[in-house]
Amino acid sequence: MKEFTYTITDPLGIHARPAGLLAKAAKAYADTTVTVAKDGNAVKASQLMKLMSLGVKQGNVVTVTAEGPQEDEAIAAMETFFKENL
């Protein structure tokens, strides 16, 4: 399993638009499970509504994990995504 932590800088947090893009990016790695966790609550990154309902705001620290055959590619893609969008 690979993981990284990230502090959200987007003023709106993980709102609808980036959540949608994130879910889409995570689904690209079909056999690899990507999760996003805040305060110990982890959800699959591909679950758009659950992801939004985490209520991640600016300044929150999230932990992103990837587990599966493509975990290296997936975690790298997620890191880039968070830096660019959140």
Binding site: A16, R17, G20, K44, Q47, L48, M49, M52, S53, G55
Partner: protein, 551 residues
């Protein structure tokens, strides 16, 4: 032959099949089914259709309104196939052995309730997105056409009455005319019909029934009649009217490109009232000299959340550019009263016509006002934009509005964003108070525009939405016309222009009175421009009298 009598609210004759506006009901019953797999297939099909529609909407938005709206629709498309949402639908289907519609409804309610319970205000507002998505899937499941019109050919659209947000979504190329059970001459359907220049008949009551769906009707907007299976005589009369209408249209075509000037050389500015950028082609087609009233409400009514500065800016800029340097008077937000917007969370009022509406909302909510003013000033760099404030009753209100404009200009200066510093500022004269203090108000602004619909309602104490006031509701009342004269005299004494943007402006029988009073501008439905021009060009201003002001 079947003859239905209603109230004609927009002139003209037309014929075509009747099509009832489809409004999805909220009561979806739980129906037990045995073939769960068949229901699952229906859901998959509805999901695919919904996603295709939402993606098409996103493409359309990307071209017309911009990236923000496009991404919203794309996110909606992702909601449609969200794993949890779909799991909830499928498990409801299996556990309850119910129909697809009910399962989708339950999932939609569960998820929107979950969002609505969130602490974060932004996420709470997303409950509306989930409702929209659920609605979209349900419409596809139930075969309800998007935009409410299920027909490939143009139709006569029938409804009980149409809400402002509903008229915005209509595919206007499919509508020949309107027939409604309720409504009045001032209802939104009537206003839309006049803008489009097509016939409309309202107040048909229960005589208009769903049985008529698909039947060919002949409607006459001047007489207020809807005829089915006409006998020979009625058909001949209809054809004669249709022929005259075509002749008149040809005659009006000759008026295109001519000036709005009386026989003795008095010029009148003939402008148009519009409700959205979609109406601009009608203005250009009818050769309007400018836009005297651009109602900005459409941006707010069509949205599920406050429209952003950029969204507004794009809409205003589009109209300003399309009018190519001709004046475009944009009225700031005028909601409340009969126009309600859910996300404003306005308090329910006993008497909303006299409640917190229009400029009162804007002055109470400086952030909402500021966003709109910034969008308006930014658009002023792209054409001849003028800003107009509605429902003014006091001088301090105008001064506060001007202060807000000043603050926005200072911000734009600091940000280096271009705008026109000399953007004209005007007010609607639509309350008796503004008439009585017109001399003081005229010193504050660049123009007046009289909103005769509200001015009549407040002056005569007659509710404009009520349909049974009959002879008591008299828009030609000398009190109304005298009010116009008081305002006109005050405007001219201060050296500013005065126009009329209410329905009265298009009333040809009052043109001589308007000329006698000295009205400088008439802003009317695009379809009224050419008839008005024809009448102006036959009139001698010098001989017009104000005799209608006598009691």
């Amino acid at each position: 032959m079947t003859l239905l009598q209603g109230k004609g609210v927009s002139k003209g004759v037309t014929s075509g099949p009747i099509c009832f506006f489809q409004r999805p009901g909220n009561d979806i019953a739980k129906v037990s089914v045995s073939d769960i797999e068949a229901e699952k297939a229906r859901i998959r099909e509805a999901q695919e259709k919904s996603m295709a529609q939402l993606e098409a909407l996103a493409d359309k938005a990307r071209e017309e309104t911009g990236e923000d709206t496009a991404i919203l629709f794309e996110t909606h498309a992702m909601f449609v196939e969200d794993d949890d949402y779909v799991d909830t639908i499928l498990s409801t289907l299996e556990d309850e052995e119910c129909c697809a519609e009910y399962a989708v409804k339950v999932a939609g309610e569960q998820f929107s309730a979950m969002m609505a319970a969130m602490e974060d205000e932004y996420l709470r507002a997303r409950a509306a997105d989930i409702k929209d998505v659920t609605r979209c899937i349900l419409n596809n499941l139930m075969g309800i056409a998007d935009g409410g019109i299920d027909s490939d050919v143009p139709v006569i659209l029938a409804a009980d009455d149409l809400a402002p947000s509903e008229t915005l979504q209509l595919d206007k190329s499919k509508i020949l005319g309107f027939i409604t059970q309720g409504g009045s001459g001032n209802s939104h359907t009537a206003i839309l019909a006049r803008t489009m220049g097509i016939p409309a008949i309202c107040a048909l009551g229960d005589s208009l029934t769903k049985e008529y769906e698909g039947r060919v009707a002949y409607i006459d907007g001047a007489a207020g009649t809807v005829t089915l299976d006409p006998d020979e005589q009625a058909l001949a009369a209809y054809e004669e009217k249709a022929r005259k209408q075509a002749e008149l249209r040809a005659l009006m075509d000759e008026m295109r490109g001519k000036e709005d000037v009386t026989l003795d050389g008095r010029e009148m500015m003939v402008y148009c009232n519009i409700g959205s950028p979609d109406d601009v082609p009608a203005v250009l087609q009818n050769d309007g000299q400018g836009i005297g009233l651009f109602r900005s409400e459409f941006l707010y009514l069509a949205a599920s959340d406050y429209p952003s500065e950029d969204e507004q800016f794009k809409a205003y800029k589009k109209v300003a550019e399309a009018m190519g340097g001709k004046r475009v008077v944009i009225r700031t937000l005028d909601i409340g009263a009969d126009k309600q917007v859910a996300y404003f969370n306005l308090q329910k009022e006993e008497n909303p016509a006299m409640g917190v509406r229009a400029i009162r909302i804007c002055l109470n909510r400086p952030e909402v006002f500021r966003t709109q003013l910034r969008a308006l000033y930014r658009a002023s760099a792209y054409g001849k934009v003028a800003i107009m404030f509605p429902m003014i009753t006091s001088v301090w209100e105008v001064r506060e509005c001007k202060k807000a404009c000043q603050a926005v200009m200072t911000e734009l200066d600091a940000e280096g964003i271009p705008y026109n510093r000399d953007t004209e500022i005007g007010i609607m004269v639509e309350t008796p108070a503004s008439v009585f203090i017109a001399d003081a108000l005229a010193k504050e602004v660049d123009f007046f525009s009289v909103g005769t619909n509200d001015l009549t309602q407040y002056t005569l104490a007659c509710d404009r939405q009520a349909s049974d006031l009959g002879r008591f509701f008299d828009p030609h009342h000398p009190a109304e016309l005298r009010a116009l004269k008081i305002a006109a005299d005050a405007a001219h004494a201060a050296g500013i222009w005065i126009g009329i943007c209410g329905e009265l402006g298009a009333d040809l029988s009052l043109l001589e009175t308007f000329l006698a009073i000295g009205i400088d501008e008439l802003s009317v439905s695009p379809s009224s421009v050419l008839p008005l021009r024809a009448k102006i060009r036959q009139t001698t201003a010098g001989t017009c009298t104000a005799e209608l002001l006598d009691c």
